[in-house]
Symmetry: C2
Subunit: 254 residues, 2 copies
DNA sequence: TTCATGCAATGATTCATATCAAGCGATATC
DNA sequence: GATATCGCTTGATATGAATCATTGCATGAA
């Protein structure tokens, strides 16, 4: 009955939050991701202000650093690596609501607790902000709030697209949409046919993201491969031979 | 292959946007929904400022007033009635991403176009704002922006919950979740067992919201009725006999 | 080397939900 | 007053994806 139970159990539940490494960060101004994320909205003095409340942390692969339902008293800004966001049912079924990487921030919460969990897929670097210390900074810098709003609006659009996928698309269309999304993340809207795209998530992650089982994801990828639409290398690198065909499938016109 | 094609075709595609009625609104201060929506964040002079850019409109049932992909140059604030938001596939499959009623605002868009459509279910009253005229007002009133951000965060949480539903819940769990949601909208978290809740959406709407077919929604409701968990009256009123049982089912513990 | 473990692919079978079909009341149309 | 049409329900059947089962291939440990 529960579709993703197996994948949820097969995956070893990573241990509880232990911050693996922290480094002081007095110099957001020279941060390697300054052009991304919330920081891109700020000038030097504002960054200086932000730096005072930021701590850099490193999260090893597989570690959950936001626990569903935990007190939401921290904000994060991803500076490298890939994070999966998820929601779970009591029996272990899991839905991944998004994969986020450099530039994205995490922790926007309505209530006092996080409505979702977050787990590092590969090694992840984050900027961590205490909420109580970040709030006054946000109040001081309207552009920062503007930036958060636009980020939230973006995520909302992505979420609506994903609802369409989960509610109405076939397995084939879902997998095609996922690959399409990878392609867009890498190259924007310029297709670049034949280029290799590598992705860190496992088949189980993809399944939990697309509302399918591991087997269906695997079979569907094999199918697309057999049809000559894609090539797969080492399991975690794909090359999209015919982006336009894939795009058509993703929209249900395949 | 396309699950909701039938329901999409069965539903007569409502005609294009024609604003049915407009009334000037110089008096947001005495607006009946002042306590709700974006207005609740404002004091009298601020409301006065807002009123200058607002127009009240009335939308008849079935009319689409936001067209997917259309230029996004208006904001709306729902003052009465119920609206369904949706996304569609080229072949007509449709996913309803949410039902919104009094207090909600619509039109937060990332790009220059709306990523979703909006259709009135019953008669809907809206406050309409031209985006170009609203933007400066938002800049002037930080609290307004704060309010928009919190609203967006709320919607994001709801969207994640819905992704979990669409990706991982069974038909029974989906319908139970929907009823649960109706109950919460009406009574917050105090169950009020036995009270009648009326809802305006059709079975087809519910199906398109839950990623099911009309038939499955109907059968599932009948099942819950037969089991004595709910009572249905006139098709659009339900009474939840055992809220806790329903809640358990919705979370997959039924 | 051998063994265990995790991840992916694939085949056989089952099952939940879609599809197809029919009927029923309410409301609207001619 | 006959006849559509719409929204909903229910039954019979089909099917796409889940489930169950096996295998292969890495990688890491003993």
């Amino acid at each position: 009955m529960p579709p993703s139970l197996t994948s949820a159990i097969a995956t070893p539940r990573p241990r509880r939050l232990v911050v693996a490494g922290t480094e002081g960060c007095a110099t957001c101004a020279i941060c390697e991701v300054r052009a991304n994320g919330i920081c891109s909205a700020l000038n030097d003095p504002e960054l200086e202000r932000l730096a005072q409340v930021a701590v850099k942390v490193v999260i090893p692969p597989g570690q959950i650093f936001i626990e569903e339902g935990a007190r939401a008293d921290e904000f994060f800004n991803v500076t490298s690596g890939t994070v999966k966001l998820f929601k779970s049912l009591p029996d272990g079924r899991r839905q991944i609501t998004g994969f986020v990487s450099v530039g994205h921030f995490l922790g926007l919460a309505v209530s006092k607790t996080y409505a979702f969990g977050a787990e590092a897929i590969d090694q992840v670097r984050l900027c961590r902000f205490s909420r109580t210390r970040l709030d006054p900074v946000i109040n001081e810098i309207p552009r920062l709030e503007r930036r958060l709003l636009s980020e939230a609006a973006n995520e909302l659009v992505a979420a609506q697209e994903q609802m369409l996928l989960l509610g109405r698309k076939t397995a084939r269309e879902r997998v095609a949409s996922f690959l399409q999304e990878l392609l867009e993340k890498e190259y924007g809207d310029s297709p670049a046919p034949g280029a290799w795209i590598s992705f860190p998530m496992t088949r189980a992650d993809i399944a939990d993201y697309l509302g399918l089982t591991v087997e269906t994801v695997s079979r569907t990828l094999s199918g697309l491969r057999r049809e000559g639409l894609i090539t797969v290398r080492n399991g975690h690198e794909i090359s999209i031979i015919t982006p336009s065909r894939l795009h058509a499938i993703a929209r249900g016109e395949g």
